[in-house]
Symmetry: C2
Subunit: 340 residues, 2 copies
């Protein structure tokens, strides 16, 4: 068999990829990484630590070996320890713990969306009723706000880097579909005179409000509950933040949002878009391009739009200039759109 022979490797990896998903989910559910972090090392020790879940040493041994194969653990003889990444992100006692993020990403409704991918390809949009996840007051966005805040701290810092204003400028900021609010909050932390208006469903704003409070900026933080499409945005603002929002909608709806942003901005104001923005080929970078599939299964008409598509819709809304920024090392990209 020559090296050039066809290989079914990629196929089998994809066919069995869901096993990895189940393994990491179970490990987090059983707090396996937390038990190992606390000094439990062998399967019987870990199983015993896991009292609430009553795990079996045999089950723990097989799961730990699998997680070692996948790179989440290190094994020496019959003892397991955490990798640096697992220690940082998967130990419940680490501030960067991603357990809540996993809970959001594995919301049964989202998983069901993917399980119904075949239907979604037929329909050209989510197979779930109520337009999937973008329906009004969907409680999924509270889970999102709680689950994704940890992951968004770095993108929020990189987005705040793009503001580049005088530190004492009394920036007026509208954070559209604020969610956890971390994008507006991070800018408010850098600009002590900035005031943020957070727009989202009322139940979601409760989470943003908590986070603003925790950041000590409550007095400069106000809430605007409702649908971004229906409520009056007020203004004028110096910055309108549109983070991970456009991708849920079709182009005409995105155009309406861009127009509303333009109208709410003061002259010289800017819209900051953060999103999954693939290259024109729509196949790179991998994560931004692949995100379109999530929008196919989870929304009626959402997509991962290219910079060219964003540029057109912002120009149509009246914006004079659009700049693209890859927010490396994160998987996200940004566009700064300026009003003349």
């Amino acid at each position: 068999m020559s090296v050039q022979s066809p290989s079914p490797r990629l196929f089998f990896e994809a066919v069995s990829a869901y096993e990895k998903t189940e393994a990491i989910r179970t490990a987090v559910e059983l707090e396996l990484f937390t038990h190992i972090a606390s000094g439990k090392r062998t399967p019987p020790e870990i199983a015993q630590a896991c009292q609430a879940c009553q795990a079996s040493p045999r089950g723990i041994r097989i799961l730990c070996d699998y997680l070692t194969v996948q790179g989440f653990l290190i094994k020496h003889n019959d003892r397991y320890e955490l990798t640096a990444d697992s220690s940082f992100y998967l130990d419940k006692n680490s501030p960067a713990y991603l357990g809540k993020t996993l809970e959001f990403l594995h919301t049964p409704k989202l998983r069901e969306c993917f399980h119904r991918l075949t239907e979604a390809v037929r329909i050209g949009g989510t197979a779930l009723p109520e337009e999937g996840t973008v329906s009004h007051d969907n409680p999924i966005w509270v889970e999102f706000a709680r689950g994704m805040v940890g992951m968004m701290r770095l993108p929020a810092k990189l987005l705040a880097d793009l503001v580049k204003e005088d530190t004492n400028k009394p920036l007026r900021i509208l954070d559209v579909a604020a969610g956890h609010g971390i994008f507006g909050i991070t800018i408010a932390e850098r600009y002590p005179q900035a005031r943020v208006t957070a727009l989202d469903w009322r139940n979601v704003l409760a989470v943003a409000s908590e986070n603003a409070s925790q950041a000590g900026i409550s007095q400069r933080y106000s809430l605007l509950p409702g649908s971004a499409f229906d409520v009056d945005w007020g203004g004028p603002y110096d910055l309108v933040l549109l983070t991970n929002f456009f991708h849920h909608f079709d182009v005409p709806t995105c155009e309406k949002l861009a127009a509303k942003a333009y109208a709410a901005l003061a002259p010289g104001g800017r819209a900051l878009t953060l999103d999954f923005i693939p290259e024109a080929d729509r196949i790179s970078p991998a994560h931004a391009a692949g995100f379109a599939l999530t929008m196919l299964v989870a929304t009626g008409h959402g997509d991962a739009y290219t910079f060219e598509e964003y540029r057109k819709l912002f120009e149509k809304a009246g914006f004079a200039k659009n700049e693209f920024h890859a927010l490396l090392p994160t998987n996200q990209q940004a566009i700064v759109s300026s009003k003349a």
Copy 2:
């Protein structure tokens, strides 16, 4: 952010790995690769070809981009083509088509086993009733026999390479839990005087029988229906084949099988075991080691045993010599156990 910073990459890959599984499943279900192989190139062309499934061009475009990102397709402008691997394994008109294999690997019962991994870790075995997949006459083994035969042709050739007997020797072969029968059949094709007895459930033997017929060896092929544990194996045999069978059981049950093999062999006879046999560390090679998780979720007491564990149980049964063979480039390993 330094290069040494912790990265959540591995975590997110695992959390979203199931999306790949859904994508390949949907693509095979919609015969996407077959349509592209037949010359359809753009999303509207592919969607139209897919008449039975009534796919939308938008759904096809997003799925094809995702499959391109994952390495299954190549994209030039808005046109897709197959990679060499996809063309060989995923076009329905290719003799090596793996669609049936996917159907077996995604049997709802097997997927449910994995979805209940947390319970399996607690219990130390499958969370499904009837001992998961090893129950009597389980129809899953007919699906297995039909689904896995394509994948097993290469391992079967490599196992037949280990026989190394005079071509005209009238080998008497027992193929235990024959399934598709391809292991015994491949040896019978190489040894024109060999006779094979295939042991399995009656419904499964119908598949082995078809395959023997197709290989033109029906006249040297006889059927022994029933449970490997209950029926009289007859004999004496020169070769007893134990392929992908031990891993379903606990050690005492494996010992019984080894003893039964020993008793059924003529002096100088050999048992050929093909299985997932990890190194003593149980974390390499990746596929053999990772297979233990499948046995945890799908069986009551199955495992991926090491060579050392096999050596012990074969010695206990009376075998004089055990040789290990990695069946590269496949993911499987073999042991040749000789009766003095």
